[in-house]
């Protein structure tokens, strides 16, 4: 059973196009994330959602619009794609809070976005 699944795995598109990446988790977690990994492998948080509510937006351009229809899904829509958007995007989920505090975040397999 896949815990965090995202589609598509690869996405090649032209500048100016609009694209979406979908993410689903079956772990029952309350919190979901989008991370961006650049060519140097650096992982940076983009968005954090808790129970469908946006918690963190790390100064991401408003061309990026996450949407969480329910707490098991967090999709990422990107408008007017630019060359600099080329990266690997990871969805993740975790159970945060409670008396136990943080537990590990589970990551999807990533979506490699190439803008040409």
């Amino acid at each position: 059973d896949t815990a965090v699944s995202q589609t598509p795995k690869y996405l090649v598109t032209q500048m100016g196009n609009d694209k979406s990446i979908k993410c689903e988790q079956n772990l029952g977690h309350d919190t979901m994330y989008w991370y961006k990994q650049d060519s140097k492998k650096f992982l940076k948080i983009m968005f954090s959602y808790n129970n469908k509510e946006l918690i963190i937006n790390e100064t991401v351009p408003n061309r990026f619009s996450p949407k969480s229809p329910d707490k098991a899904h967090l999709n990422l829509h990107i408008n007017s794609l630019e060359l600099g958007d080329s990266a690997v995007y990871f969805c993740a989920s975790s159970q945060v809070g409670g008396t136990g505090g943080w537990t590990e975040a589970f990551f999807g397999q990533g979506t490699r976005l190439t803008v040409v």
Binding site: V4, T31, Y33, Y35, K40, K41, F42, L43, K44, I45, S48, N50, I55, I56, E58, F90, A92, S94, V96, G101, W102, T103, E104, A105, F106, F107, G108, Q109, G110
Partner: protein
């Protein structure tokens, strides 16, 4: 500001030797630390975690050490195997923060 960094971007070790990957963090409010392994073409995979009320935690062939005095975290891998070749990340979080902050990553290469 928050910063989780690594001393070495690459590490090459002989198969069977022990590996030590280091990580420095600057946020003294961090109370949860975690190590991930990322193989080529895959997402980060959980290895081991540790909370700030501990200074050592052991798993299968891995040990994480936490030194809060100098804000230092390390991952020790015993008897490294070819399958240990990957990029390793440390990450930190603090109670109430809804995000993990990742370090730069260290590429571990195992020589036969």
């Amino acid at each position: 500001g928050e910063n989780v960094g690594l001393h070495l971007p690459t590490l090459s070790v002989q198969e069977g030797d022990n590996s030590i990957i280091n990580c420095a963090y600057s946020n003294s409010a961090s109370d949860y630390f975690i190590w991930y392994k990322q193989e080529s073409g895959k997402g980060p995979q959980f290895i081991i975690d540790i909370r700030s009320n501990m200074d050592k935690r052991q798993g299968q062939r891995v040990t994480v050490l936490l030194n809060k005095t100098v804000k230092h975290l390390s991952l020790q891998i015993a008897a490294t195997q070819p399958g240990d070749s990957a990029v390793y990340f440390c990450a930190e979080a603090r109670q109430g923060a809804q995000k993990l902050v990742f370090g730069q990553g260290t590429r571990l290469t195992i020589n036969p």
